[in-house]
Symmetry: C2
Subunit: 360 residues, 2 copies
Amino acid sequence: MQPLADVLGLVNPPITPALVIRRAAMLANLAAMQTACDAKGVRLRPHGKMHKCSRLGKLQVAGGAIGLCCQTVGEAETYVHAGINDVLVTAPVPPWGWPRLAALARLAHVGAVLDSAVQAREASVAALAAGAVLDAYVDIDPGMGRAGVAADQAGALAQLLVDLPGLHYAGVQAYCGHHQHLLPAERVAAHAAWTDRLRGAVHDLRSAGLAPPQVTGGGTGTAAMDLAAGVYTEIQAGSYALMDVEYGDLGDLPFAPALFLAASVVSAQHASHVTCDAGHKALHPNGPAQRVVVPAGSGYRPMGDEHGAIIPPGGAVEGGIVWLQPGHVDPTVALHDAFFVADEDGALERWAIDARRSSL
Amino acid sequence: MQPLADVLGLVNPPITPALVIRRAAMLANLAAMQTACDAKGVRLRPHGKMHKCSRLGKLQVAGGAIGLCCQTVGEAETYVHAGINDVLVTAPVPPWGWPRLAALARLAHVGAVLDSAVQAREASVAALAAGAVLDAYVDIDPGMGRAGVAADQAGALAQLLVDLPGLHYAGVQAYCGHHQHLLPAERVAAHAAWTDRLRGAVHDLRSAGLAPPQVTGGGTGTAAMDLAAGVYTEIQAGSYALMDVEYGDLGDLPFAPALFLAASVVSAQHASHVTCDAGHKALHPNGPAQRVVVPAGSGYRPMGDEHGAIIPPGGAVEGGIVWLQPGHVDPTVALHDAFFVADEDGALERWAIDARRSSL
């Protein structure tokens, strides 16, 4: 591929701030993850919460992914209506969501994770009312305390999923979000310890006649270890497709930076800095600092909701474009309504971030 | 008005996380600011960057506001196409924006602030090409370093705005964002010092035959002082309509909390906390911490992009609703696609956050 700065120099977004995807880098990332999963015979179900873009999701499915993960009911609805026929909601569903997922399950293969008997009964009632079947997964908490049952409680909930009408017991989920951003050595140790426990839980389920059809989990930071562990049947990675400062700085992941933010310099009144039109509403502050790519050597500091400082100006002039790499891709994408996908010659195509909306 | 918790107890949002406006409180806020401005004969031009909602903006205009402020070209386009016929872009416009604003100026009264001769010439060229006239304001930097010329440089730029074809020199802007959230005593002192300098700058412009038709600025935190100062002809306040933790905690503003976020409890596996479906993508972390309103006495901690912890559970149960007040209203609103406007009996109406999109 051409040097990054050369490609960015050819890109002229029609508006700013604009999220720009370098298509060649994204395609290489998609292929790298799919190839790694295929080599182990493990399903890839990329996470649609990261990009919220059905066009990107369809590209992942066309490349071999089984379907998409979703974090919200709205994402699942958007993806199914866009033609993606297999979705899994990877977070516990609020009561209002079950009838909507059940209705969706008449159009596509729809799964959801659960961590309580209350949710299981709500899901069952909704599925029966819709005349549909929902794939139901036991969500196992790998120690984050966010959602999921303790590993040794998985059997009781799995049995309920088997017993309840309208549900198909489809397996277990164990998503280790807290491992994804550890430095390489710490990540290996944490992953190994957890994998041993998960292997034990799967063994116990098998012994109880509740062998999970799928064990879904994993992420961009742990994918190589997830694939090597031999316990996961499905990988849920998301960020690998576009990457960000947070994952890039780990240094050991085989994925290239593919997402950048173009901002216009709108004020240049000071020797110390210039002001660009990207602030808290264009670059979500969660995660590590946004990185300035062009001009090289400058830093970024938010100056309110719609502005940021480029410090020092580094040759950036009023009316010119500066380029940043987002610190954390997911929440920053949720602030925008489109990606502009750039070819190496600078040509752009607009892809709607259509799953950004909360409902259809 | 009824006690807040009683009203929230009647509200059942169709989805979560959901931004809910208490209509009675919002209407009282709108009336309070309009009445204060009317009493001083000062124009109110509420800031549309806060709510990004043309329906709310039209209510402000129907109540007496001259039009809306916008922070982006996309907001201006959305508001004009929704029927608001007077908009002012209060931040320097990138080059791509001038032709779009000029086209908009054929449909409505459109103004923009500028801080350089380069921008003035771009605006002039675009206005001439569109056969339109743009209101042009000299942006004066009150010391934030974000945009605007120094007060003693305003005359040169004002003269250029007078001289260039296609532009109408409409006045000056001096927006003191850095004063809005100071504690009361500090705010009075900072405001007085700045107002003296602004008064001097306006005097100098008058002496040079460049009397500004409008002096626009001010905000929710300083509105009472802005109105008393006698120098502003137009107030740009935004947050007063809905309020947030940041403004509410100042303690001296006559506006009521009117914006709340409803989240569902989606997991309740621990005695220490329950997990709700609102994280970094529903509650922007810029500003002070999000405040839990119901259950009273609990706190909130983000648990990733789509989840947060309510600590302690305070009686919140799985499947139930918890209520929060956003720390900082503007960037949180930008994460949602609709408000649900609640009457005192809990009835809801959906208002699209239609100016959230970056372009039409």
